[in-house]
Symmetry: C2
């Protein structure tokens, strides 16, 4: 097969490497890993849209993975929604993974609310408000355990797709990127149509000041940067990538947060970077309020693949809203779609995924979960 | 290949089915799952040899899986030993799995001491002393989560090998077998050369009396039997088997405890039994103080496979002691050896495993871990 046949997957950056990565994973069997965590940073009003209210962001990661595993949420009555009522991208992830029979493992990196499904514990804790300048505890322990997990998973799967659910994740990503010397101002994305860059930068500047860290000061100490101004998903996600990508390809599934993970991974073990791609959505790569390419270019020559998913013709306003800039990505949605297409050598198309999303959306509506 | 070529694996019971099971798994890629838990039952003096002292039995499961994943224990300074100083069968499991590059996942069903490695949480708690007649909490929740886990794992692996580490496990097995109507008196094995049947029966009779349960009274309610007189590993182990064996073969790796699991599984979903075999050691099937065949015959026509492993010529007294009836089985040792042989189509032999065990034993001795 020639990966050109895999329509529905956009080669957005480092096209040749992206093509090679797709060749490596086409027809292969992935495991989808979803890393979850929560922070008090997400409870700052206006920072996160991953929850109806700032307080409800604590339930979003647990509810997201319950949806992936069970097809419904248990810790809350409805699926997670934005303040405007737009439902979680986990519906996309669920639909893609189920269509392609891709198994899911949940990793708890430090979620305040634990999901009512089996999850892998790494001994992490919820993150504090980064404005404290002291955001995450036992970062090294979580990283080392996650690395061990990644090594085990690299013996199990042909390749990994790693996604995340942590509200406020682009703000902590911005803080860590700046601490590590990546010019990320105005470049990270948002789950809101109007990206609140000013608020994010204000919070991040307070955080860096409280931590006593200037731009690029922690360039060679990413675990320290996480502990000061990051979030608990970062050491877990990076550890899994470092542990697994020594042996198998890893698709890091997410938006601009993946740039923070990529920078952390590169600083900790540059040798694995060649086995990594970022998998995201069309909504991220076409987003005018952020610049994922401009971030990746500063870090490593890693390809960006994007699922060319389009909800503009959807029957449901809650899905059409994605075309107006709501949500955009999360819970590894883009990467899940890419891996569903690749696993089936294009047997599953983006249109199939959209139809399945509509079907699941309707089912959840009927059950009162949306 | 003809499974006769797989020397080193004894077909001990239901030979034809055993041969068929081996054919199904030969050359295939397993995942080894180790389910851990602790109970206060194990702290009754004389019940368990899975720890230097009754109190230390609480560290044994965590230390066992640390050894499997890391090659050394972290929560205690040395590997778990019996009161006589004979080291844990996890050394056998470790050696077999590493030789054959078989990945390990740890499931915490309710261990008081948590291992310093990634583990899958099912929300379980340590078991109480069964003499209370109220041994395990949230049995149904753990079973249902474990079933979901088994379903996910059945999409990941060609087949599962499931082992356990829970001190006192044969005593709780005896109690549950009696509650479910299997005549198990004098038939369960022990990690001690002199099987303390009298003590076990006394404890179990107290437990059944406290729970108000007579022989066979809970025959169709295994989860109730577990909650009254069982242990936390049971619902987790049974749930994984029920969830996975719908799609893939499952080798239940252990000694006579596996008979309790088999009975629980059969009562909950008889349809999966045809996809199950018990994998154990020569020391169990040749044990004169117990009767695994006599137990299995009462439950289902499931094959028993046994690793023909022999330490009689070992340099180390701690291994030769296995030939005198110490330890016998545990941490899925027999099943791990069987799966190492089967995965490599006999490329790895029992002798290779014995040599690897000696090598690891020596390494651990040098490091002061034995």
């Amino acid at each position: 097969m020639h990966p050109k046949e895999l329509t529905g997957i956009m080669l957005f950056h480092e096209e040749e490497r992206g093509r090679e990565f797709l060749e490596k994973i086409t027809g292969k069997k992935p495991v989808f890993v979803c890393v979850i965590g929560t922070t008090d940073t997400a409870k700052i009003p206006g920072i996160s849209a991953a929850g109806k209210t700032p307080e409800l962001t604590e339930y979003t990661p647990a509810a997201d993975v319950e949806l992936l595993i069970l097809g419904r949420c248990k810790c809350i009555d409805t699926v997670p929604v934005t303040p405007e009522g737009i439902p979680t991208p986990a519906i996309i992830t669920l639909s893609a993974l189920r269509l392609a029979h891709i198994p899911v493992l949940v990793v708890d990196a430090g979620a305040r609310i634990k999901p009512q499904v089996p999850f892998i514990s790494l001994g992490g804790f919820p993150g504090k408000d980064i404005r404290s300048g002291s955001a995450v505890v036992n970062v090294e322990e979580v990283f080392l355990k996650a690395k061990v997990l990644g090594e085990q998973l690299s013996m199990i799967a042909d390749y990994l797709v790693v996604g995340e659910s942590i509200p406020g994740g682009t703000t902590t990503a911005l803080a860590v990127l700046l601490a590590l010397g990546v010019n990320a101002r105005g470049k990270v994305s948002s789950s809101m149509p109007h990206n609140p860059h000013d608020l994010k930068i204000r919070v991040v500047e307070q955080a860096l000041k409280a931590a006593g860290v200037s731009f690029g000061q922690l360039g060679n100490n990413p675990l320290k940067a996480i502990s000061l101004v990051g979030d608990p998903v970062m050491p877990a996600f990076a550890g899994i990538v470092v542990g697994a990508a020594k042996r198998i390809p890893v698709l890091m599934a997410g938006g601009t947060q993946m740039c923070a993970i990529l920078k952390i991974v590169k600083e900790l073990d540059e040798s694995v970077v060649e086995n990594i791609a970022i998998g995201t959505t069309r909504w991220i790569v076409h987003d005018k309020t952020s610049d994922i390419k401009g971030l990746v270019e500063q870090i490593a020559d890693v390809p960006i693949l994007a699922a060319n998913i389009d909800f503009s013709k959807s029957r449901f306003d809650g899905l059409r809203a994605y075309e107006r800039g709501a949500v955009k990505e999360g819970v590894g949605a883009g990467g899940a779609v890419i891996s569903a297409i690749a696993k089936t050598r294009g047997g599953i198309t983006v249109d199939d995924v959209v139809r399945e999303v509509e079907k699941n959306y309707e089912l959840l509506l009927k059950r009162g979960q949306i």
